[in-house]
């Protein structure tokens, strides 16, 4: 009897140990290949912007056009763009949409890493867990460059840098962490099935519109809905950037929002670890 009761627990312990070993492997691969991760991030960046006459400028042109279009549609077309907290609608829009550019890149391109870098998986001995990390890092470089431009923009508009800007690295780090793990999870699944990549790309626009990038989440009056929306990591991050630039709030002031995000982060961590553990050995066989 005692044995029978013990067995499931033992099984659980064995499993936990295996997943722990996988996690240790991931950490070790990142440590051993840290030099390569930074080099490959630079290579990935080069790969994205080369072969076009304007090259690097595209990293700025594309977001600028998007921002202009939304600003035009809302301010001029819908006449909905009102000032928020003493800031022009334009700046409010910019503050929230800047992280979205990184997030949407990670949602779409970040979920096809193993297909784009299949030669690292099937032809060369290379730690596959680091692929998502260097792709994410390469997108992060662009994001940080855009972020600096935005800071300059705020200064030009007459809003100087203040103490709230100190929390920018926190939001950048949280966003990087969440979407790097997402990318590992999604790339594995989309390598297994084309459907998954299609599902993701068809939902990107939907995610954009429900996540409160174009409207103010804090204006939702329904108390339940406003709490539920905070479980969307995209909302938390876009809102977070606005905390820095517009609302002038600290990230720990809204405890509920922070906890909701951390729960989602932990969930993403679990998903990424689970899929990596289950699929890393199969991935070379199906690509």
């Amino acid at each position: 009897m005692a044995q029978a009761r013990q067995a499931p627990l033992d099984l659980l312990a064995i499993r936990a140990k295996r997943y722990g070993a996988t996690l240790v492997d991931i950490v070790r691969e990142h440590r051993d290949y840290r030099k390569q991760i930074f080099q490959l991030a630079a290579v990935d960046l080069m790969r994205t912007y080369r072969g076009s006459a304007l090259g690097w400028l595209w990293a700025v042109i594309k977001p600028s056009v998007t921002i202009f279009v939304y600003w035009f549609a809302f301010s001029v077309g819908l006449r909905a763009g009102k000032d928020v907290g003493g800031f022009p609608f334009f700046l409010w829009l910019v503050a929230g949409i800047i992280p979205w550019f990184y997030m949407s890149e990670m949602l779409t391109q970040g979920s096809t890493n193993f297909k784009r870098y299949d030669y690292l998986v099937t032809k060369i001995r290379f730690p596959v867990s680091t692929i998502s990390t260097f792709v994410s890092l390469s997108k992060l470089y662009v994001h940080i460059a855009l972020l600096l431009i935005v800071v300059v923009l705020f200064i030009l508009f007459g809003y100087p840098v203040d103490v709230y800007f100190l929390q920018l690295p926190v939001y950048v780090a949280l966003m990087f962490l969440f979407f790097t793990m997402w990318s590992m999870f999604a790339s594995l699944l989309s390598a297994m099935s084309k459907d998954f990549a299609n599902v993701v790309s068809s939902f990107v626009m939907a995610i954009f519109w429900v996540s409160g990038i174009m409207w103010d989440v804090n204006q939702i009056s329904d108390p339940v809905l406003s709490k539920v929306l905070l479980f969307n990591p995209v909302t938390f991050l876009a809102n977070g950037y606005r905390n820095v630039f517009i609302y002038k709030r600290w990230f720990f002031q809204d405890t509920f929002a922070l906890m909701a995000f951390l729960i989602m982060l932990a969930g993403m961590f679990g998903l990424a670890l689970y899929t990596f553990h289950r699929l890393r050995r199969d991935i070379a066989d199906v690509l």
Partner: protein, 251 residues
Amino acid sequence: MTASDVVIDFRHVYKRYRLYRSDKHRFLGIFTKRVKYREVFANRDLTFKVKRGESLAILGKNGAGKSTMLKMITGVAFPSSGHIEVNGRVSALLELTAGFDPEFTGRENVHLRGQLWGLDKEEILALEKQVVEFADIGVYMDQPMRTYSSGMKARVGFAISASINPEILVVDEALSVGDKAFREKCDRKIKEIMAKDDVTVIFVTHSSASAAAVCNRGMVLEKGKLVFDGSIDDAIEFYEGPREQPLVAEV
């Protein structure tokens, strides 16, 4: 034979592929065990050791499991069960035209590969010099690799793989790319690498003649199983002779 002399150690290695009816079934198969699939074994119960400096020929027909085994030695595929230990830097001349980023030039790909291996700047420059010299494709070295012919890709591929001073060299005979002059150049280079007696060579082939010229030990794979392991002459005899013949020195 001390442990450090063994560079490749396979213990009861199985490689199983699961064949699903479609991609959809494979996708569902990740989450539930109820999806039906067929199991195909590419390798069954492979157990052998290879010592440092040995030159081993692997003989077998198409589908005998040679490539799967090589992939596992190279470390890009993993066994379904069993244990594999490989000590030493493996350089595989498997698919020479693969493993490049088509958007980058030949030169950039050499740098990329050097970085992947974790070489420092000077080592990469030395590698680049060797590759440029050996591949001998002139101005194409600075063109994107997507513009290369398969022969040019193979030249760069071979030059890179041959230039890293491998401890274990895996040569696939499907290497017959490029013109005659270049092939002879490759053969000379392989022989040069093999002449260093601490380099272990694994040579994969359908043809016994080339195996006999290069190797001293032979293994025969059949339907994923190791059916013969012994001296190269005996292996060739086993591979080519009638199957009814009694096994002379099966291990």
